[in-house]
Symmetry: C2
Subunit: 179 residues, 2 copies
């Protein structure tokens, strides 16, 4: 019930961040009054959607063994599968102005940043800052989600696309030692 409401709100607000609460309620098949009862204000709804996305990420990242060297591959594969629910976090405008959410996001990034920094000793290049690599990973996720929702990319192809692109790049030089 309530979870379906959040899912609907996510997709509606993601497609049009200026959508009215009436639009959200109608899309979810509930009355606007009911929506207001569960989320008193618009910002409360937005916060709930974002918080739900963060919960989703946490529930995924706690299954990842960050001590393994292929932790990034594992994490990315799992994140790709989450799709729009999480895309909301990176895309919804003005979300970063909520200090509580921003803090949770930073806290969520920390283990990944640590992992990247550690792997820069072995498999990751050292001439790029860890934060840049992190953002590159996110950008790859973002690309995949967008392509999937546009129908251009099959969900099952997505992890491979993201990982090969981010790790090996689009130059054919890197592709040689893989084929």
């Amino acid at each position: 019930m309530s979870v379906h409401l959040l899912q609907t709100a996510t997709s509606v607000l993601l497609k049009d961040p200026t959508a009215s609460l009436g639009d959200v309620a109608r899309a979810a098949g509930v009355g606007r009054t009911t929506l207001h009862k569960r989320f008193p204000t618009r910002s409360a709804l937005v916060r709930a959607v974002a918080s739900d996305a963060l919960d989703l990420i946490e529930s995924v990242s706690c299954h990842v063994d960050f001590s393994r060297d292929d932790a990034i591959e594992d994490l990315m594969t799992r994140l790709v599968a989450l799709g729009p629910r999480v895309e909301f976090l990176l895309r919804f405008p003005g979300l970063e102005r909520d200090e509580e959410l921003a803090a949770r996001i930073r806290e969520m990034d920390r283990p990944v940043l640590d992992l990247i920094t550690r792997l820069q000793g072995t498999k990751l290049r050292r001439d790029l800052p860890a934060w840049w690599i992190l953002h590159t990973l996110y950008a790859g996720l973002f690309n995949a989600w967008e392509a999937i929702s546009d129908g251009r990319l099959a969900p099952l192809d997505a992890p491979r696309f993201v990982l090969t692109t981010v790790f090996e790049g689009v130059s054919s030089a890197g592709a040689a030692d893989r084929t």
Copy 2:
């Protein structure tokens, strides 16, 4: 005068897509009435800003020799320098619903897509679709712009970051043949 107005509108609307016309006018140091006189409606302003960004891109891409093999590097380097004015195009929500703008964007993408397809015969990997490579390039630009506006990345470092990351990836395997 009018160009400065568009620049201000770009940055204000980029920071907060829901900013009111009053906010834009105040940031530009002009009266709201004046803004209304130049751009009768809000959507007219948005379209003008987007159109300005497209003009900017066209003025850059006409200096690029698309027959050269390093055309992508050239194009990316020039695009990175444009910064927020163009970021608006990729970021402002609902922009793709304007069919005229969408058509101009597609038309703008076409020569780049052709270039990518051609280069997939030589320097670009063939196991990824051209559109994916294009979006990966855009994602790199996006990352750079965001990092620059956050103050984390020096504008002069940006082209190198984007190009090495997109072409060679973040894995240290590709970095070996460069160092």
